[in-house]
Symmetry: C2
Subunit: 345 residues, 2 copies
């Protein structure tokens, strides 16, 4: 039989109203009373009717999350983080798949589903600042990702320039002198621009080349794009001794191309990626990668949406989530990955 | 300025009512008239107000998709297929993350969000038949995946037994005689049971062993589970010359373990997986895998939900989506993957 508010109240020896206040997270409950009611909720396995609870507050209990590609494990892992964080606040997540296309991103931003969602988290690829300028302020919008906009919306991102610099510094520290970049994008939009900038700044600071011959542009960001770009680089006559890829799938595609050509990783060419997806940790040669704090990004995005639902209009914030460099065999070599640093040059 | 129904009608030289009939997909419009209006819609870039359109029909325009884990690329690719297919019908997808936990799956099935969704597509892991027996018939439910239930719901799946048999037959055809299975699950629920059955049937038919010593049970289905299971098998004293894994992440984890131990794939141990995720195609040794027709699964699932919204109560259907075996280097060897078959034994 379904446990009711009344059952919880009887178990805790308090009024139904008090239980209701705890369940609905009202402020006028002492911590001691909250704990007492929570113990009864846990003991009885009471499950509040979430939909009704949200409706009482004039909300739907749904946050939309619009991502460019679910097939990319970074976005799948990020989605899982957002979904888990939303669930902790009794919110569920409606997923939109924009394909990274401007038209689709526009549709999402302009609130074509405003009636069913309380807030929107968007990771844009092609969207331009002017696309957001005339947005009707119906539901809170929080932006994710590398694109930077001078617009009054919360934006959650890691410091992409610093993260890229850290990866390139690591490669230089291992003695590499020709560090290529794979994954600058062709066309008007340039989501990779901060990572390219970090790559260039670090090389310039070290007095190393960062000319156009070391940059392989691609149309997409999948494994096959990385593989094709690596083959083009190898055939170009340049002899890079390291590669920094825009993301892990591209780095893994590049490693596949190197493997097929008999080029050793990291002895001949060290490879570093970006995103730290699970797949990289289980590659035959495990992948060194910039590891963004995905859990924090998901949590901060959900909290930003909820803060704007809480009433008041806080000033737009640019929030930095953390990152670290996960150093593995693709730069350190096999020995290095298990402890001793594996200098190869 | 926003293009209206009126603008389309003027452009096409027809009444607003006719345009409305076309946009709302009513039957009483001739194909010629439909084409004429569609040309004006395309020329003007008219975008119907989808939310309003669904609401007029008493619907929300949202299908919920409940998956056990987004981090597994199979489910991410499947979600993308469902989202794309739903979009083609002007539906959007609300994503639920059950974690494969029975409690979460129950919550989803019992329609805790019935008011916001028109239908539910669920890929269950732990759910038992009796959990669904008392389900209130508020929204159509379509099941996906390997679990089989004798229940009156549409179920879309590939033939898991036949698919597993095909993979094992391939390994036997290459001369392998000790074929291990990685990924049978510990505990009450057994999502892998059909794949284990197919593995066992094919080995038995060939007069080869399929005893418990060749089966590595795991608690989960990730890369790390496959890696750990492979290590246990190697340390068990058995000397399999082939491994069939429950899914690709486990197969890739197993290949990582083999690589670390200096065991050659496929020369010493051939490896085949299940799901044909992109990652396997770009492994250093590309992965042979059962390739379910994910696009068809996503499309059939969406169509099944919509068929039940169309009125009438069609009999529950068990729909088979197709599958094939993608043969690659992890069983054929490097030469084999590019044409010539690479027998290794």
């Amino acid at each position: 039989m379904r446990v009711s508010l009344r059952d919880v109240a009887a178990h805790a020896g308090v009024s139904v109203k008090t239980v209701s206040n705890v369940v609905n997270d009202y402020q006028h409950v002492t911590p001691a009373m909250r704990a007492r009611v929570q113990r009864s909720i846990d003991a009885l396995g009471y499950r509040p009717n979430l939909a009704a609870r949200h409706l009482r507050k004039g909300r739907t209990g749904i946050i939309a999350l619009a991502l460019p590609e679910l097939g990319n494990p970074y976005f799948a892992e990020l989605a899982a983080a957002v979904i888990d964080s939303a669930a902790a606040h009794d919110y569920t997540v409606l997923l939109d798949h924009t394909g990274g296309r401007r038209e689709q991103e526009l549709l999402v931003c302009r609130g074509f589903r405003a009636r069913v969602i309380d807030g929107l988290i968007l990771s844009p690829i092609e969207l331009e600042a002017e696309d957001l300028g005339d947005r009707a302020e119906n539901v809170p919008l929080v932006l994710l990702g590398e694109r930077e906009y001078d617009l009054p919306y919360d934006h959650i991102a890691i410091d992409n320039v610093a993260a890229a610099r850290a990866a390139v510094r690591h490669l230089i520290g291992l003695g590499r002198r020709e560090v290529a970049f794979i994954g600058a994008r062709r066309g008007r939009s340039e989501p990779a621009q901060l990572r390219v900038r970090g790559w260039r700044e670090e090389l310039t600071a070290a007095g190393l080349p960062s000319d156009a011959g070391l940059v392989a542009a691609t149309d997409g960001w999948g494994h096959a794009d990385g593989e094709a770009a690596m083959i083009r680089l190898l055939d170009s006559g340049r002899r890079p001794d390291a590669v920094f890829a825009y993301n892990d799938p591209m780095a893994i595609g590049a490693m596949r191309a190197l493997h097929a050509r008999g080029v050793r990783v990291p002895e001949d060419i060290a490879v570093a990626g970006f995103d730290d997806v699970v797949e990289g940790r289980f590659a035959a040669v495990s992948l060194t990668s910039v590891s963004p704090d995905k859990e924090a990004i998901g949590r901060l995005a959900v909290e930003s949406v909820l803060a704007r639902l809480g009433g008041g209009t806080p000033a737009p914030r640019r929030v930095r989530a953390g990152h670290r460099l996960a150093e593995r065999e693709s730069t350190l070599g096999r020995a290095g990955a298990f402890g001793a640093p594996g200098r190869d040059t």
